[in-house]
Amino acid sequence: MNWVALKMLTGDKAKYFGIVFGVGFAALLMAQQSSIFCGLMRNTTSQIRDVQGADLWVMDRNVQFVDDVKPLSENDLYRVRGVPGVKWAVRLYKGQGRARLADGNFQQMLILGLDNATLVGAPGPARIVHGNIEDLRQPDAVFIDEFGWRYLFKDEPFVPGRKTLELNDKRAVIVGMCKCSPTFQTFPILYCTYSQAVQFIPQERKTLSFVLAKADPDVPPAEVCRRIDVQTGFKALTDDEFFWTTIRYYLQRTGIPINFGITVALGFFVGCAIAGQTFYLFTIENLKQFGALKAMGVGNLRLVRMIMLQALVVGVIGYGIGVGGAALFGYVFERVVKSAPPAFYFPWQILVVTGGAVVVIVTLAALVSMRRVLVLEAGVVFR
């Protein structure tokens, strides 16, 4: 009888495609909007993920997220180094500078100043597109991120040392290019040494944004964080903690989750409405046929199985079309939009959640229809 159920479903092409479209559209909207939301949230943490080599981020106690920089004094670096369990600790400057371009325009830049001696936090070899990270030790040298280069210089081929910027009346020579995770603010990113970075910004009393630290191998990073907190009064977080602290800030303090949540909810409700209504109409139109099947000895349980199978089929196809469409959107988006970092992240959790929502949609649609079939008297076929 499963075969009969499927033939009934696919027999009316218009309704069949209508239900699949409803489910597919809902899945597409939910998956695509969730992916953009996750992409945006992930972009807020790009520097946390891109700064590699350290276990711990040490910062002022009042810092709420990665862009909420409250500078420390130079002495604070030595206080952190004095905490038992800290293997090493280095400076990191993170801030924004205004670059003057060759055409006279100005552009905000994100500046990451790395410890002069160790270059801790620099992009690894896999992320270097042009140049050598050791070139940062040259006078006025900076690395720029790929998106930043495209944004400022379009399709010009990269030649080390040819392009220069002017920041705070200081020359910045672009000696290398690296890949960086897309950022929330979309400003071009410059990597340079710490001493160089403080030249690129107007003079400030305190310039140490964060201290990057490594825990001793025999002491858990969480324990080192606790010791730093107790001994220095600073906030010390592991990469993962800082990542989620930043995400939580954006979730709680901005309207982003609500706006995306509304769109995702709309997708869900539109899917419920279209799929539910079309499935219901499909069942109503086939009520006599269901009645005939009942008369011919098909029990309610079997009819429920037939309707659930129909719902499952449209659910699976609609889900496939929806998440496939969302993935295709992300794929095309990343390749077409070259000048701006994409905010699209499609983790497996979105597949699961979208799948769960689709299950709810088709189950609701099936339940509404099923009720009519179950209460249907087989004698209706004689009327």
Binding site: K7, G11, D12, K288, A292, K294, R383
Partner: protein, 254 residues
């Protein structure tokens, strides 16, 4: 016609010669309650033998449809005893009754009720699929029966590609494909012109009536009275009279 194997032998009727195919004793049926109560059947007693085609006739609202619904196990009687093919339906549970129907009763409906997305052969095979047959075997057997009713060249046609008479012939094949012991036909000629109606009745007469099967046909159409071995006249929920006839057997299917 080859016999069909059923899943539950207990549900098969006993040997047909042992008693009536249908035996109703004091059957009444009321719909609704209080002031909205409608009495559709009033103490109906009826015995229908095997091997005959019985016509159930009467004006609209006289209780014909209610009566066949009760006989077919689609509706429960409010009072009385209903015995069909040796099984007491009054005391039979819902699930068992569904299986009993599927295995013992064939239906022909006024509006055919064919599934529009299935071909003629697939439609006719549905009762076998309900009984758990393999699809290919079921469709092949349905094809044999469709050939027997003159639709051998329309096996792969969909209902919307068939005339009303042809669709009713598919419905007859569907009703008989699982070799039921009782065939219930509700106004099988009502949606057809006179010629097609006669063809359908001839077909039912020739293909359905067998020594171990009872056939009940509800009809308004006085032109088909000739086909019945017996005519049960109903009025206002009661059986007025039962008349034995010499049936016509002279019209071949077109």
């Amino acid at each position: 016609m080859p016999a069909v194997t059923f899943s539950d032998p207990a549900l098969r009727s006993p040997h047909p010669r042992l008693g009536s195919a249908v035996s109703l004793t004091g059957v009444a049926k009321e719909y609704g309650t209080g002031e909205a109560k409608v009495t559709a059947l009033r103490s109906v007693d009826l015995d229908l033998p095997y091997g005959e085609l019985v016509l159930l006739v009467g004006p609209s609202g006289c209780g014909k449809t209610t009566l066949i619904s009760i006989v077919a196990g689609l509706l429960d009687a409010s009072e009385g005893e209903v015995e069909v093919l040796g099984q007491n339906l009054t005391r039979m549970g819902g699930g068992r009754k569904v299986r009993f129907r599927g295995e013992n009763i064939g239906f022909v409906f006024q509006q055919y009720n064919l599934l529009p997305s299935l071909t003629a052969a697939e439609n006719a095979s549905v009762p076998l699929l309900v009984a758990g047959w393999d699809r290919k075997k079921a469709v092949a057997k349905a094809g044999e029966l469709l050939t027997a009713v003159g639709l051998g060249d329309r096996l792969k046609s969909f209902p919307n590609q068939l005339s009303g008479g042809q669709q009713q012939r598919v419905a007859i094949a569907r009703a008989l494909v699982h070799d039921p012991r009782l065939l219930v036909c509700d106004e099988p000629t009502a949606a057809l012109d006179a010629a097609s109606g006669r063809t359908v009745m001839t077909l039912i007469r020739q293909v359905a009536v067998e020594a171990d099967r009872a056939v009940i046909v509800v009809t308004h159409d006085s032109r088909v009275y000739d086909f019945g071995d017996r005519i049960v006249f109903m009025s206002d929920g009661r059986i007025e009279k039962v008349e034995a006839r010499q049936p016509a057997r002279d019209v071949a299917p077109s």
